[in-house]
């Protein structure tokens, strides 16, 4: 049975009119939807640390003041959610992940980012370096709000935004790739929005 068209109904967000600026299947939004898989964690800054671990051992860890003392940069990037909204020109301030990874000696090819509340997502190390990823703590000139992942989240704009883990607390260095939360439930292991890699097998 084909569904009847509901006269006059249309998607709220529109595809970009300027062609090529947003990935296939995406629609522009001007707000900032809050999506999550669990309750918003409320980690207090004195309790916050970010750690790089390998094999269960912490190689390096930063407290909030130590993290804030690292050189940070302001970037303006486009973000693309697998639920089909894209938001252009978002402004963040964060520390490049490369800066953090440079402080440990490792030969790992993959990471599993882990967050308060148990969320995880996996990425190749090479996608986190070279100016492609940040540990972001300010959004649009303000401290990152808890519902958007504050105090700090991963920001990896060249991949679908589920890879930009909210409430991130560290990276587990891995020899072999291992699927994180959404990757375990059928989402694509890599998640390139420009090749529309939404689901496993795409």
């Amino acid at each position: 049975m084909t569904s009847p068209v509901s006269r006059g109904f249309h998607r709220r967000n529109r595809p970009a009119g300027d062609g090529g600026k947003i990935p296939p299947g995406q629609y522009l939004t001007h707000d900032f939807p809050v999506l999550s898989a669990g309750p918003t964690p409320r980690t207090r800054l004195p309790d916050w640390t970010f750690s790089i671990r390998r094999g269960g051992e912490t190689l390096r860890s930063w407290t909030w003041p130590e993290f804030q003392a690292l050189p940070a940069e302001t970037v303006t990037v486009d973000i693309h959610c697998v639920t089909r909204w894209s938001k252009l020109g978002t402004r963040w301030r964060g520390v490049p992940i490369g800066t953090l990874l440079d402080q440990v000696e490792h030969d790992a090819q993959y990471v599993l980012a882990f967050s308060d509340g148990g969320y995880t997502t996996n990425l190749p190390v090479r996608d986190l370096t070279g100016g492609q990823a940040w540990l972001a703590f300010d959004y649009d000139g303000q401290p990152l709000a808890p519902e958007h992942g504050g105090p700090a989240r991963l920001l990896v704009p060249h991949l679908y935004f589920w890879k930009s883990a909210k409430w991130v607390r560290g990276l587990d260095l891995l020899d072999h790739d291992q699927p994180g939360f959404w990757e375990s439930y059928g989402y694509h292991n890599y998640g390139d929005p420009w090749r529309e890699q939404r689901y496993a097998g795409d």
Partner: protein, 244 residues
């Protein structure tokens, strides 16, 4: 028939809009012609699916605003940043078609066999399924005592006001207005709290059954207050509403 459990896969069926009426500036009730509607229990909801010309689909859930045996109706609040509610409240006209599936939900429902006394607590559009319970109670001629406490921002935001201002025998309705009250207001003011419940809630010695519906934080706060008044958790049924 009303009261039967729902079995088997739900199928989408075409519904035609029969009529639309404004309840408040931002809320409309939509009556639907749903051939083959199997009947429903008060408190149940239906899922609505809209299909755009380009094939885009959106689904939302709405409580059935009517009692079983009355024409199927939903009451929708327009949310400014919504995708479906602005369409349903501003664009939809009699004769338009959409798809529905239902009725859905065996937990947040009331039938006369469930007894009482009933305590119904609504926040905003959470009034919709509770109003269906009130209408069902009236249709069945039930004498189960019921008290409704309904929280809204202002008097103009009260949905079904003319109906609720004249409650049937055995039903008491209290309003609380959280943002502003008209001159000479004799109802409650401010958010539902312990003091307000002390005046409205049935004592636990009466073994009341409570239904709480509204935004997530409202429902959590009120349910916690009822449990603090020794309402058994199993006698406090809740339904959280979301948006858009």
């Amino acid at each position: 028939m009303a009261g039967t459990a729902v079995r088997g896969r739900l199928t989408w069926q075409v519904a035609t809009v029969a009529s639309v009426a404004a309840e408040t500036d931002s809320v409309k009730t939509i009556w639907l012609d749903v051939p083959g509607w199997p009947g429903h229990r008060a408190g149940q909801h239906l899922d609505v699916r809209l299909t755009a010309e380009d094939g885009y689909r959106a689904e939302r859930s709405y409580s059935v605003a009517a009692a079983d045996g009355e024409p199927v109706a939903i009451t929708v609040e327009r949310l400014d940043d919504g995708e479906v509610s602005p369409y349903l409240t501003e664009e939809l006209r009699p004769g338009d078609q959409l798809e529905v599936r239902g009725p859905i939900g065996n937990w947040f429902t009331w039938g006369t066999a469930d007894g009482g006394p009933l305590l119904l607590i609504a926040g905003g559009s959470g009034i919709v399924p509770l109003r269906a319970i009130l209408r069902h109670r009236l249709r069945c001629g039930s004498d189960v005592p019921v008290r409704l406490l309904y929280s809204s921002r202002t008097l103009a935001d009260v949905i079904y006001r003319s109906e609720l201002d004249q409650p049937p025998d055995g039903a008491q309705v209290s309003y609380t207005l959280t943002r502003s009250q008209p001159p000479g207001w004799t109802g409650f003011s401010g958010r539902v709290d312990e003091a307000m419940l002390a005046k409205v809630a049935w004592p636990t010695s009466e073994h009341p059954l409570a239904f709480v519906c509204g935004p997530t934080r409202f429902v959590e706060t009120v349910a916690d207050l009822l449990v603090a008044r020794d309402y058994p958790a199993s006698r406090v049924k809740t339904e959280r509403f979301g948006g858009a």
